[in-house]
C-alpha cells in the first residue's frame, strides 16, 4: 500500500512537470515588457536640437495636460514610416509631442525633419543613448504617453501604428 502511494505520487509529480512544459511550449520566449502602470518618468535635462538650449523634462511636460515623448533617429528605418503618423497626430490634435533624438548626428537629424516635417514642439537630443536607457527604453522608435504629472500612461515599443494613434486620441480627449 505504502509502495503504491509512493509510485503514484511520483507519477503525479512527473505529470505535473509534463503539464508545465507543455503549457510552457506555447509561451513565446521573446520578452514582452509588462504594461508600466503608475510610474513616473525619470527627470532628465537635455539640449534642444535647434536652439542648443538646455531643458529640464519636468518644465516642458508639466505645462501640458498630456505629452508624448517619441524616441527617434534619422538612421532608424521604421522611424521613417512612423513619422507620417506623428505628423498626422500633431496636425490633428493639440498634443504636446516631444522628440528625443537617439544617437544621431545633428545634420542628419535636421535634414530628416526638413524632409518629412517636424511634429515636435521640442526636439531634445540624446547623443549617446544614456537618457533613453535611463527612461527604460529598449531602442528606437519608442514612445511614452505622459500626463501633466509626468506619470507614464502608456508606453509603445516599436513604431506607432494607426491603432495606437486612435488610442492616444481617445485618452487625451
Amino acid at each position: 500500500m505504502k509502495k503504491n502511494i509512493f509510485y503514484l505520487s511520483i507519477l503525479l509529480f512527473f505529470t505535473f512537470i509534463f503539464t508545465i512544459f507543455y503549457v510552457g511550449l506555447d509561451k513565446s520566449n521573446i520578452y514582452k515588457p509588462k504594461e508600466v502602470k503608475n510610474k513616473n518618468l525619470v527627470e532628465f535635462t537635455s539640449t534642444e536640437l535647434f536652439s542648443n538650449k538646455q531643458f529640464n523634462s519636468k518644465d516642458i511636460i508639466e505645462n501640458n495636460n498630456f505629452t508624448l515623448i517619441n524616441i527617434w533617429s534619422s538612421w532608424c528605418v521604421p522611424c521613417r514610416s512612423e513619422h507620417t503618423i506623428l505628423m498626422h497626430l500633431s496636425n490633428k490634435t493639440k498634443l504636446n509631442i516631444i522628440g528625443l533624438n537617439y544617437k544621431d548626428k545633428k545634420n542628419n537629424a535636421i535634414k530628416f525633419l526638413d524632409e518629412l516635417g517636424n511634429p515636435f514642439s521640442k526636439n531634445l537630443t540624446d547623443p549617446d543613448g544614456i537618457i533613453s536607457i535611463s527612461l527604460g527604453a529598449y531602442g528606437v522608435p519608442e514612445s511614452f504617453l505622459l500626463n501633466s504629472k509626468s506619470r507614464i500612461i502608456k508606453k509603445y515599443i516599436g513604431p506607432l501604428t494607426s491603432e495606437n494613434i486612435s488610442e492616444i486620441i481617445k485618452i487625451i480627449q
Binding site: K3, Y7, I10, L11, F14, F18, I20, F21, Y22, V23, G24, L25, D26, K27, N29, Y31
Partner: protein, 624 residues
C-alpha cells in the same frame, strides 16, 4: 536530387527494420531463444547500414551544394569551404538528428558485439528497449524534421551556414558530444533490461562500467570542445556562461559522474542496486531533457536552433513516455537489494562514494532548477526572471570546499570499514599549510579573502594529496589522475577569475594607449578577400614592462552569406597567461572598439579537463 531520394527511402527502411526488431526481440525473448540468432544480428547491421546510407547521402548533398534539398538550402552556400560544407551537415537541427540516429544505431550494434558474455535474455531486452528509443527518433525525424525535403523551383544559391559555426572546434564538437549523450542511451536500455531480468550484480556492473566510462569520456571532451570554442569564437574571453544550452550538457555529465562512482560500489560490494539503476535511467533522461529544452526553443539562449513547437511537443511526449515506462517497470519488477545493504560504515570507501553522489546530486539540482525555474514561474505566475552566473556561483561554490576535501580523503579509505586511527595528523597540518599558501596569494585581491582562501586551500590540498598518491602508486592511477585534474581545474579557474584583467577602449589606427604596465599600440589594418568572407586584420603590439613585444592580429570577418560580422579574437597563449585581444567595428571603419584581456592560467583549465578525461578513459582501457 537523387541522393535525397536515396536518403529518404533508406531512412524509411531503417524505421521499418526498427519495428521488426521490436517485434523479433520480444518474440525471441518470450520463446526463450538460447542465442542471438543471425536474423537479429543482420537486422541490426542492416539498420545501421540504412542510417549510414542516409547520412552519407545528406553529406553528399551538402558537398555538391544540392539546393533542391531544403536542409542544404537553409544551411549551406556554394562558396563555403568544403570542410564547412561537410560539417554543415550536422550544424543544423535535421542533420544533427540524423547524426544522433547514426550514433544510436551504431551503439546498439556494438553493444551486441561486445556483450556476448551476458545472459541472452538480457541482450534481447536491451535490443528491445534501445529499439524503442531508435524508433522514436526515426519517427521524430520522419514526421517533424525530415532532412530530405524537396524545394521547387530549385534555388540558385543557399542561405549559408551561420559564420560562428564555421569553425574547426565546432565542426567536431557535436559528433563527440553525441557519442556521450547517445552512449547514455545504451546504459538506459541495458539498465531497464537488467531490471526486468533481475540480473543486477557484480558481473553486470563490470560489463556496464565500460560503457559508462566511454560515454563519460566523450561527454567530457564534447563539453570541453564547446567551451574552448566559446572562449575564442564568441569573442569576449569567457569560457562558461551558465547559458541554458551549456547547463543542459552539464546535467547528464553530473549524473554520469555520479553513476561512474556508484557502479564501482556495485562492482566491488554488490550494493546500491536500485540507486545505480536510477542514475542510469536519469542520465539518459537528462540527455533527452536537454534535447527538449534546446530544440523546442522553450528557453532563451545564445545558441537556439530554429524552433518549431511541433517538434517540442513530439520530444516532450517521447521523453515522458520513457520516464513513465521506467517508473512502471520499477513498480512491477522489484529490485532485490543485497542483504548486506545495511552494512555501511561511516569511515569507508562506500560511504565516501555516497558522499560524492550526494554532492553530485546537489550540483545537479542547482543546475536543473536554475535552468527550468523560469519556465515554471512563467507558466504559473506569468512573470519572467533571468537566472544567470550569480545564482549558480552562490549555490555551487560554497559546497565545492567540502566536496574537494572529501575528494582528497575518500579514495584513501578502505572498503567496508576503515579506522579512525588511520587518520594522520600530518594531513591536517598539510591542510592548514595549504590554506595559508592560498591566503597569501589571495590577500591582494581584497574581496571575500577568507572564503576564497579556504576554497583555494582545499583545492591545493587535493592537489598535494593526489601527487603524493601518484608518486607512491598507492591508489588506482586513473582515479588519481582524474582527481588531480579536478583539483588543478578548480585552482586554475580560481586564479583565472581573480587575476584576469581587461581593458577596453575605442582606438584609431596608429593610436597608442598605456594600460597598467603595458603599452598597447594599434599599428595598422589590412583587408583581404577570402572565399566566402572579407577579412579585416588589425595589427597590435603589446609592450610589457620588460619591453617584450607581443604582436597580436585580431580579425573581423564580414561573411557574404548570410551577411554577418564576426570578430575573431587573437590569443597568445603562454604557460601562465593568455593575452586575448578582440576588436569590433564601430560605425564607419575608422574607429575600432578594442578589448584586451590578460587571462592567467587559461591553458591550465583546458589541460586539467583533459587530465580528468584521460583518467576516465584509462579505466576503459585497463584490463580487469
Amino acid at each position: 536530387m537523387i541522393s535525397s531520394h536515396i536518403g529518404y527511402y533508406s531512412l524509411l527502411l531503417g524505421f521499418i527494420i526498427s519495428t521488426s526488431l521490436l517485434f523479433y526481440s520480444i518474440f525471441y525473448f518470450k520463446k526463450n531463444y538460447q542465442k542471438i540468432n543471425q536474423k537479429i544480428f543482420s537486422l541490426l547491421f542492416f539498420q545501421f547500414f540504412t542510417v549510414v546510407i542516409s547520412f552519407i547521402s545528406l553529406v553528399y548533398s551538402f558537398i555538391i551544394s544540392d539546393f533542391s534539398n531544403a536542409t542544404v538550402y537553409n544551411n549551406s552556400h556554394s562558396t563555403k569551404p568544403i570542410f564547412y560544407k561537410i560539417s554543415g551537415t550536422w550544424g543544423n537541427h535535421e542533420g544533427s538528428l540524423l547524426l544522433w540516429l547514426l550514433v544510436l544505431t551504431l551503439f546498439i550494434f556494438l553493444f551486441i558485439i561486445f556483450s556476448k558474455k551476458q545472459p541472452v535474455k538480457y541482450r534481447f531486452l536491451s535490443i528491445f528497449f534501445q529499439q524503442i528509443i531508435i524508433s522514436g527518433f526515426f519517427l521524430f525525424l520522419l514526421l517533424t524534421s525530415n532532412p530530405f525535403i524537396f524545394l521547387f523551383p530549385i534555388p540558385n544559391e543557399g542561405l549559408g551556414l551561420n559564420p560562428i559555426l564555421q569553425d574547426p572546434a565546432l565542426a567536431i564538437h557535436p559528433p563527440i558530444l553525441y557519442l556521450g549523450y547517445v552512449g547514455s542511451s545504451i546504459i538506459f536500455s541495458a539498465s531497464l533490461a537488467s531490471l526486468v531480468q533481475n540480473n543486477i550484480n557484480k558481473e553486470w556492473a563490470t560489463h556496464i562500467k565500460k560503457w559508462i566510462q566511454a560515454a563519460w569520456f566523450f561527454l567530457t571532451i564534447g563539453i570541453l570542445l564547446g567551451s574552448i570554442w566559446a572562449y575564442y569564437e564568441l569573442g569576449w574571453g569567457g569560457f562558461w556562461f551558465w547559458d541554458p544550452v551549456e547547463n543542459v550538457s552539464l546535467m547528464p555529465w553530473l549524473c554520469l559522474t555520479a553513476l561512474f562512482h556508484t557502479v564501482i560500489v556495485l562492482e566491488k560490494r554488490n550494493l546500491l542496486k536500485s540507486w545505480t539503476l536510477i542514475l542510469s535511467i536519469a542520465t539518459f533522461t537528462f540527455s533527452m531533457i536537454g534535447t527538449f529544452l534546446v530544440r523546442s526553443g522553450i528557453l532563451n539562449s545564445v545558441h537556439t536552433f530554429a524552433n518549431d513547437p511541433e517538434r517540442g511537443v513530439f520530444i516532450l511526449i517521447f521523453l515522458f513516455s520513457l520516464i513513465f515506462l521506467s517508473i512502471i517497470l520499477f513498480f512491477i519488477y522489484q529490485v532485490n537489494e543485497n542483504r548486506y545493504e545495511k552494512n555501511f560504515f561511516l569511515i569507508s570507501k562506500e560511504t565516501s562514494i555516497l558522499i560524492n553522489n550526494w554532492f553530485m546530486m546537489y550540483f545537479l539540482s542547482v543546475i536543473l532548477i536554475g535552468t527550468t525555474y523560469p519556465i515554471f514561474l512563467e507558466v504559473i505566475t506569468n512573470e519572467k526572471i533571468s537566472i544567470g552566473p550569480p545564482f549558480f556561483n552562490k549555490l555551487i561554490i560554497p559546497f565545492l570546499i567540502l566536496f574537494l576535501i572529501f575528494m582528497a580523503v575518500g579514495p584513501n579509505l578502505k572498503w567496508i570499514k576503515d579506522n579512525y586511527k588511520n587518520i594522520k595528523y600530518s594531513r591536517i597540518v598539510l591542510f592548514l599549510v595549504c590554506i595559508f599558501i592560498s591566503f597569501y596569494i589571495v590577500i591582494k585581491t581584497s574581496s571575500e579573502i577568507l572564503f576564497i582562501s579556504i576554497l583555494g586551500g582545499a583545492a591545493l590540498y587535493l592537489l598535494f594529496i593526489t601527487i603524493n598518491e601518484f608518486l607512491n602508486k598507492k591508489n588506482n592511477i586513473s582515479q588519481t589522475i582524474s582527481h588531480f585534474g579536478f583539483g588543478l581545474f578548480v585552482i586554475s579557474i580560481l586564479l583565472n577569475s581573480l587575476f584576469s584583467s581587461e581593458f577596453s577602449a575605442n582606438m584609431k589606427i596608429g593610436q597608442e594607449l598605456v594600460y597598467e604596465k603595458e603599452q598597447i599600440k594599434f599599428l595598422k589594418i589590412k583587408s583581404i578577400d577570402k572565399e566566402n568572407y572579407k577579412s579585416i586584420i588589425a595589427k597590435f603590439e603589446i609592450k610589457d614592462e620588460k619591453k617584450n613585444i607581443t604582436s597580436l592580429y585580431p580579425e573581423i570577418r564580414i561573411y557574404n552569406q548570410p551577411n554577418i560580422l564576426t570578430s575573431e579574437a587573437d590569443i597568445k597563449t603562454s604557460i601562465f597567461f593568455d593575452k586575448f585581444i578582440v576588436i569590433n567595428l564601430i560605425k564607419g571603419e575608422k574607429i575600432f572598439n578594442v578589448r584586451y584581456q590578460t587571462k592567467p592560467f587559461m591553458i591550465w583549465i583546458w589541460i586539467s579537463v583533459c587530465l580528468i578525461s584521460i583518467g576516465g578513459i584509462l579505466g576503459v582501457l585497463k584490463k580487469n
